[in-house]
Amino acid sequence: MNRAWSVVALREIMVRLRDRNFLMSTGFTLVFLLGAILAQQFFGNRAMSYDIGVEGPEGARIVAQAQELARAEDPEVRLTSTELGDAAAVEEAARVDDVDYGLLATADGWELVDEGPTAGDLQMLVGEVVREDALGRNAEAAGTDLESLLAGSAVTARDLAEGDGGSTFLAFVLGLVFAMLFYMSSLLFGMQIASSVVEEKQSRLVEILAAAIPVRTLLLGKVVGNTVLALGQLVLIVAVGLVGLAFTDYDVALPGLAGGIAWYVPFFVVGFLALACIWAAAGSLASRTEDLQSTTMPLTMLLVVVFVVSLNLEGVWRVVASYVPITSTILMPMRVLEGEAAWWEPWVALVVVLAFSLVTVRLGARLYQRSLLHTSGALSWRRAMTLTD
């Protein structure tokens, strides 16, 4: 009989894997995630690539210098020039899109021509090259050189965060994504536990099951089965997300974040377990599927509060909440990702949430055992606490 829980767990998993709604929603999530990453890469990070029509070698030299300057920042920038002879030909080529822009010399400098507005980044780039070029010539004429003229005028930016500059933003986004994943998974699979409990209660199967195996074994199987499913779905989503990210410019930042991402898994599992038996108890309080909404209300509210509070806390409260069970599931891995937590902090928070889940598992199991065979009407949480076997 000690393998009965695995029979129950396997059934929970198989029923879910054959459920078309579940498969489709998982599929949609994955497609949406990949789409979001690819769209971000395509629209947000597309490297500059322009073909610029010029009259002659002077214009081509400006374009070549702009290319060199831009490459220092982003190696994927591609600026090419096409010599077209005269201004009229350049304007015509820009108008019919033979070239992306035209670059023409004017009385006091240069102009970029095109039908419609000019890309700001290109205008800044060309402007800088032309200005340096002009400054250099003017300086020479004034008997000095460009370096002395520009001395003391440099403004650069320095990122105080450790490691790559891109990781701060990425850590924030990942933290947010993980928070949402936890919220969605615990809601989805928690509800699944509750509704599979009430299904057995409503269809009166529970008496046959309770006569065959201990009620605790039934509960264990349900919790294990749904935890495996939740974790499996999470791993799938994270894996697809990480593979997707590896194809973007953020790939350089990923290795630095691996530690935080790895911490997320144990926190997710324990955080899910801490609520799993309470979800089962919520299911056992209901006598029909229709009652579920009211018996699971405290849990859904709790998750909303955990989600909202976790994302809005700051300073010392945020640090405190990163140790408090359930909010720690979201906040502690987030702080690890941001490089803010010391090495021992996640361990402590994990022990705290483990201890907490020991309490909730026992409480949930007790409520479940007591109210499972009460088939006449929904029970209140208060009433269930006072029931005897």
Binding site: M1, A4, V7, V8, R11, V15, E199, E200, Q202, S203, R204, L205, V206, E207, I208, L209, A210, A211, A212, I213, P214, L373, T375, D389
Partner: protein, 293 residues
């Protein structure tokens, strides 16, 4: 042998079962009768360990039942149910596995039983698509799937058509023939009378009568019906005779003993022709009404 020993269950102030004791000997079928709320379901739930008794115990072959023993009992609860959206065969296999069978053994046995109950072509049908009678058949199969050592069936015959009643009776007889004790509750007293070796009558949570139907009948008062060609009003004065019902030439009497009955017959024959003088065998339902009054 299944022995129920002084089982009592209270729900708050309500006593659902009070000091219930009886036996279900190996290879015998015991009928459990009583009105709604008499405590039959409560008692069966306690036998199955689904409900904890307030006091008393259930013995199997002389020793208190353990979860391991009960897991080998076949049980059909009063409230029927299977997973509505799952195929019949699939969930019978699942239930068989929970009773410790291997998946392949459970599949083989369930397929065989489904075939026998005329559901051989509905193996993969979802339970909710089956008619109520067929769902009931699937439920019966679920209770006997794991080669049970004892059967505890709450109202197994309710909702069955006559053909299914016969199939069910046959299935139960097969089990008793192998020495399996069978306890089932029913409101269909003729059926209980026909099938059972003994009967336990429960009323307000107490066992008010038990024994074979012959033994139960023997406890009922002796009654005779006398029909003559004339008026039978004179019977009222006959020694050792109590008149239960008198209607012109016909009278129903309760003699104090067999001698009084025979004297009554001789008196009647002396007064004129006797059309009828017969011992009235009470039906089980009359006995039931008597003890449950």
């Amino acid at each position: 042998m299944l022995q129920i020993s002084h089982l009592t269950r209270r729900f708050g102030d309500v006593v659902a079962a009070a000091d219930v004791s009886f036996e279900v000997p190996a290879g015998q079928m015991v009928g459990f009768v009583g009105g709604n709320g008499a405590g039959k379901t409560t008692t069966m739930r306690m036998i199955m360990g689904v409900l904890a008794p307030t006091s008393g115990e259930v013995l199997w072959d002389g020793a208190p039942t353990t979860r391991e023993v009960r897991a080998r009992f076949g049980y059909m609860p009063e409230e029927r149910g299977l997973y509505p959206k799952q195929p019949v065969l699939g969930q019978l296999v699942y239930l068989g596995q929970l009773h410790g069978m291997t998946a392949s053994a459970a599949r083989q046995r369930a397929t065989e039983l489904l075939g026998r109950f005329g559901l051989g072509d509905r193996l993969d049908a979802k339970v909710e698509t089956l008619s109520l009678g067929n769902q009931q058949r699937a439920q019966i199969i679920a209770s006997v799937l794991g080669d049970p050592v004892a059967l505890v069936l709450d109202e197994p015959f309710s909702g069955l058509d006559p053909a299914a009643v016969d199939q069910m009776s046959e299935l139960l007889r097969e089990h008793t023939a192998r020495g399996v004790p069978v306890l089932f509750s029913s409101h269909q007293l003729e059926l209980v009378d026909r099938l059972c070796d003994s009967i336990v009558v429960l009323h307000h949570g107490r066992v008010v009568a038990s024994g074979s139907s012959e033994q139960l009948r023997a406890t009922a008062p002796l009654r005779y019906r006398l029909t003559t060609t004339g008026d039978t009003g004179w019977v009222r004065g006959a020694p050792g005779i109590t008149v239960v019902d008198l209607d012109g030439p016909s009278v129903l009497v309760e003699p104090a003993d067999e001698d009084a009955a025979q004297r009554l017959l001789a008196d009647a024959a002396a007064r004129g022709p006797v059309r009828e003088f017969s011992l009235i065998r009470p039906s089980l339902s009359e006995i039931y009404r008597e003890v449950a009054a």
